[in-house]
Symmetry: D3
Subunit: 149 residues, 6 copies
């Protein structure tokens, strides 16, 4: 999805990623890697008593998984540099399958052969429910600067 030079994007362009099932393993691995062992993610007995009635995935796990679902061409992407107005809008449960949908909301070419692409990102479940919505800013090469693809 971040596979084209900055000037090749158009306002309103849409993409959709492949899906990935969120497993108990992902939650355990993310608790271990992040160090966030909140019992809502790691204690089944505690989670049963909450409004969710079961363990839920960490919001930042789903955000991290989303970055991996996006195709990125190393010749094009200079940096993933900003997140704005991001909201975790619904829980992701063990067994849910998420994918990413994106829409180009701004394209800004710069004098230095690079440009900023702004996209509205939604992470959705198999049911269509949105679990994360936010704006992502990425610095991309422009064709005149980058190596030919």
């Amino acid at each position: 999805m971040f596979t084209k030079y900055v000037e090749e994007y158009e306002m309103g362009e849409l993409w959709r990623s492949r899906g990935r099932t969120i497993t108990e393993t992902d939650i355990i691995l993310f608790a271990g890697l992040s160090g966030d062992w909140h019992p809502l993610h790691t204690d089944q007995e505690f989670a049963k008593e909450t409004m969710f009635q079961q363990r839920i995935a960490h919001g930042t796990l789903i955000l991290s998984v989303a970055t991996g679902l996006i195709q990125m061409d190393p010749n094009v992407v200079v940096a993933f540099y900003g997140i704005d107005h991001l909201r975790f809008t619904a829980p992701t449960f063990i067994g849910d399958t998420v994918h990413v949908e994106m829409e180009v909301t701004d394209v800004l070419s710069r004098e230095d052969g690079k440009g900023v692409l702004t996209v509205r990102q939604q992470v959705k479940k198999q049911s269509g429910e949105t679990v994360i919505v936010g704006t992502i800013r990425v610095l991309l090469n422009s064709r005149k600067e980058g190596a030919p693809l």
Copy 2:
């Protein structure tokens, strides 16, 4: 740090977390878990030719590590629900040690026994350089609703 009822916070309050050294292992584990294998993180030969001259950690890895460095009391924290104006301002290299600094920028009590705490979060390296800056919103219990601590 998210260990008090919402009404017990004051504007301008500051905290500082313990530190954590970011290792090559963390980067490999995060590439595997997120699925983001961009060669800037995973190909030493590629990384040598970039402006960084070495592999760098994923921005979302550092963001995830930051959530684990924050102490959270499960009786108090209802949900981590938003990120605003977040910028990745400098690279984190293998061997850098990061910690989190936070400042309360808004406290909003609600009618339903909960409230929104807004903090400006900075992730800094041992050198004092800021690698992430952004605003985090958390939903907390108020004392009248929550279990006594």
Copy 3:
């Protein structure tokens, strides 16, 4: 729980940790990290024929998880240095949720600004059954030596 200077503990003091659900993932990760692939932990067909009728967690996995469930203040804890009379008293199955209960059984201040805290540790399941019982010895700072908390 190991968050106070040694002279601040009293004989008979009790604590209880948060819980953690033991998952299939934890067993696989521990088999991989320890190198202990005994089929009672990793072969479902073998385990079905044993008295347990299913796979069980490694005893040392539960012992390791217990150390992570205990809160430790780095300014106070000098070393975790001994284990005595430890017995694995019941199996932990996939899906069991364990927590740690501790009782102070000895406090010994030393001349060198440190002291030995001895606790009787029990790891229990959600059913109340004890899976590990033993005595743990920890070297702690005394107030006169340590940094002010």
Copy 4:
């Protein structure tokens, strides 16, 4: 199984390894380590629509697990150096338990104190179905060269 000097093997010798249950965790860990996130392994919704109707393990995961199920004596095994005519003949599902069966098909002593052992390797499930069949070549020490066992 690769625990004897090369001249101690006979044509037609057979062994059978212990078993290991393939878990969802193994598939997630292997996707992360290999970087192969094909949705047949990692997207439950996608997998439901295929002929398998569920996620399946990566063939190279099962091949890797097979190498770990074989006992190897470090004083004997010089190198695992070749794979021939290997076919992935059936899918391995989450919860299947696999073991390895081997038959010696060639023994070749060399002048340099080493020799090549060729075995036909089958990886089978609890049902007896073969999931991988192939020929493995290993370089072993001969008794005159190696340290006494």
Copy 5:
């Protein structure tokens, strides 16, 4: 690389993947996942006394990493089903960066809307040295059967 319908390949076509640096972490994770703890991979003191003078990566780790370096379109790839004449020709050390080179050696369309693509695969290091060479067989959809790309 496995991103086109079977009839779109031509004999002699070449591709080259991105690179990936093999780290100590990869070796530890693979030892844990495969269960293969041969001291040549995991004991530095043992490895120092061998002809390699240091620890080396498992051959099946490099083979697994190679499958992840190949781009696969899930709409095209039906199955990775065979390995022939594969040889591990040189050791991969910690810090080496590997990539995959492939050449189409056979294309066989079948009556059932699928076809077999045979490629000669080489895994090479940054120095150009080949560490694995072998033949890989993949079952692909043909355009008439598959969904439009």
Copy 6:
């Protein structure tokens, strides 16, 4: 090492395991799995200021690794059930290679076809220094009860 029926052991019998190098990866994985993120294990800047001047491995990591270095025959070992008088006597640093030495100190046959083997276990580094010493109790089958080996 736990590969014989209980009555086949003699007082004073000795064994020595293979070695394993303790890596930064092992420490990160164990911090994640146990949840013990004490900065002595995970914060290089903190560790520099301690008496060790560098990060050290968790004692329970080394204890867990020791269980994996011991050979166990599933037909013989019924349960690993007790630890006595265990002391962590020296730090294990990143890059140290440990092995296990054991001495039979008691053999107790029971009426029920099983028996208790008591061993004095030492975990030592490549320098010969002992990092853990303690007594381990294991329940083994006796020949009359067990399947023939």
